[in-house]
């Protein structure tokens, strides 16, 4: 039975790791991730979680120890933010290429500089092509549910890849929400004990991470690419099973009032709930608008996105990026959405805006402004306006 509890989202995420009975936690403190790891350390200290908590001296070591522990056959959990993830970067690639299914809770925070402890998505976008499965939560319940599902997805023998669950720093981490928490027994049934495919076993010695000579490096990368692409069916299976067991349905691409919409706002993370409020306001004014959430970021849900956006009522998409691709195509989400639609015949126009950088709140009127930009593009027929490459930042003081 699930109990509805008022709980800080960070604590709920830590509880998910406890319920998954992780063997090793390796993490370095960074705002706004701290409450997650503090709670885990307390659980270990109280004997409520039988795990080894490694108090590492940096995030680089945090991820390195995760990879080592996972390679030794343990279920491993870590959590970080922003600069911490950037420092881990080198080893983030190793976690996926060594196929160690580490689960990471990423409290999304802006990258320096200037230093900002507040939320945007520049940290995760930096890790876009690292080979991790990458999923966004837009509220505390989702963060808890997805953390649980991350173990099932990553550790599936058909997958064996690390998984990153994203949730907005402070906006979610430090908020107390009513969350349905499952009984430990239910989770023990949902998440079976971890069985590695290969591990550092003295009775069966293998060499992990040998030199990738030019004769095999390409094949190794192909193998990894196929693994993350094929993880998609497992992700859907786990979403289905979760829905069947607990009644909450997750999809790779979520929609809100998009069925008959002409203009949709596409975004990731907690802003989606605010965008939905803007949709309601505009709907009351008779405008045909909706919202689309790109929940699954890697593997990229090409077909799902095309199904929602192409050959439907949607004529205009406004993509909200929470990160700037400096000197590039405005933002990474815009770039990828456009790329996914490129070969489609019956496709909407796609325009990009940037907002909510470094903890800047996005107010209702700013969401409405984003829809207005979409309307204008649709009216003028000019994809992305007069200066297509100009980064349109909503909420900027000129």
């Amino acid at each position: 039975m699930a109990k509805r509890t008022g709980i800080e989202v960070s604590i709920a995420i830590a509880e998910a790791a406890r319920q998954a009975d992780v063997d090793v936690v390796s993490a370095y403190p960074i705002t706004p991730q701290t409450h997650i790891v503090e709670h885990l350390a307390q659980l270990v200290a109280d004997g409520d979680l039988d795990a080894n908590y490694i108090t590492v001296e940096s995030e680089h070591t945090a991820m390195s120890a995760c990879v080592g522990a996972s390679a030794a056959g343990a279920r491993v959990f870590t959590s970080t933010s922003s600069q911490g993830l950037a420092l881990m970067n080198e080893i983030v690639y190793l976690a996926s290429s060594l196929r160690t299914p580490v689960v990471m809770a990423l409290a999304n925070r802006a990258l320096s500089g200037p230093i900002s402890i507040w939320n945007d998505h520049s940290d995760v976008m930096n890790e876009r092509d690292t080979g991790w499965i990458c999923i966004f939560a837009n509220n505390g319940q989702e963060a808890y549910d997805l953390t649980l599902m991350a173990f099932r997805i990553g550790e599936d023998k058909r997958v064996m890849l690390p998984v990153m669950i994203n949730f907005d720093g402070f906006i979610l981490t430090h908020v107390i929400e009513p969350i349905y928490m499952f009984d430990d027994d239910e989770i023990a049934d949902f998440i079976p004990p971890y069985e590695p495919v290969i591990y550092l076993d003295t009775d069966n010695p293998i060499t992990m991470g040998p030199v990738g000579v030019p004769d095999i490096y390409t094949e190794a990368k192909k193998q990894q690419e196929v693994a993350i692409r094929e993880s998609r069916s497992v992700i859907d299976e786990v979403f289905d099973e979760f829905a069947g067991r607990y009644g909450r349905r997750y999809r790779a691409v979520e929609t809100y009032k998009a069925e008959d919409a002409e203009i949709v706002l596409l975004a990731q993370g907690s802003v989606i709930e605010a965008a939905e409020a803007a949709v309601d306001v505009l709907r009351d004014q008779g405008k045909k608008v909706g919202a689309v959430e790109l929940r699954l970021w890697r593997p990229f849900p090409f077909d799902d996105l095309r199904e929602v956006l192409c050959g439907t009522s949607i004529k205009q998409v406004v993509v909200l990026d929470r990160c700037i691709s400096f000197g590039g195509p405005i933002g990474p989400v815009l770039s990828e959405v456009r790329s996914a639609l490129y070969l489609e015949k019956d496709k909407p126009m796609v325009v990009g805006v940037v907002a909510g950088l470094g903890g800047r709140d996005i107010h209702l009127e700013e969401y409405i402004e984003m829809f207005r930009i979409g309307e204008e593009c649709l009216r003028t027929g000019k994809d992305a306006g007069e200066e297509p490459e100009l980064v349109k930042i909503v909420g900027l003081r000129e």
Binding site: R99, V197, I198, D215, E219, Q223
Partner: protein
């Protein structure tokens, strides 16, 4: 099982691990050398100094307790000849026929 040097991506083991321990024995380094050690068994005292100081683990002990370098692996560094307390090893030119 000998792993292929040029496998397809499907043949490549999971996470490109090498499942067979110590399979570099298939890789012969003996053709690196220009000089080879020759043991004069009439002087050899069977102490094992050549064996313990061989970076290649090329020396093998025979049934009589003599050590002799396996030339399929010996790279010809000459440490054995230098360290032999009985001075029974000489480095001689490899003659290629």
């Amino acid at each position: 099982m000998k792993l292929k040097e040029k496998p397809t991506w499907r043949e490549l083991p999971f996470a490109c691990c090498i499942p067979e321990p110590g399979n570099s024995v298939y890789y012969k380094t003996g053709d690196w050398k220009t000089l080879k050690p020759v043991v004069d068994k009439t002087k050899c005292i069977k102490c094992g100094t050549c064996w313990i100081f061989c970076p290649e683990y090329a020396y093998e002990e025979d049934e009589y307790g003599y050590f002799e370098s396996n030339l399929e692996y010996c790279k010809g560094c000459g440490i054995c000849a230098r360290e032999c307390p009985a001075q029974c090893i000489t480095m001689e030119e490899e003659v290629v026929e």
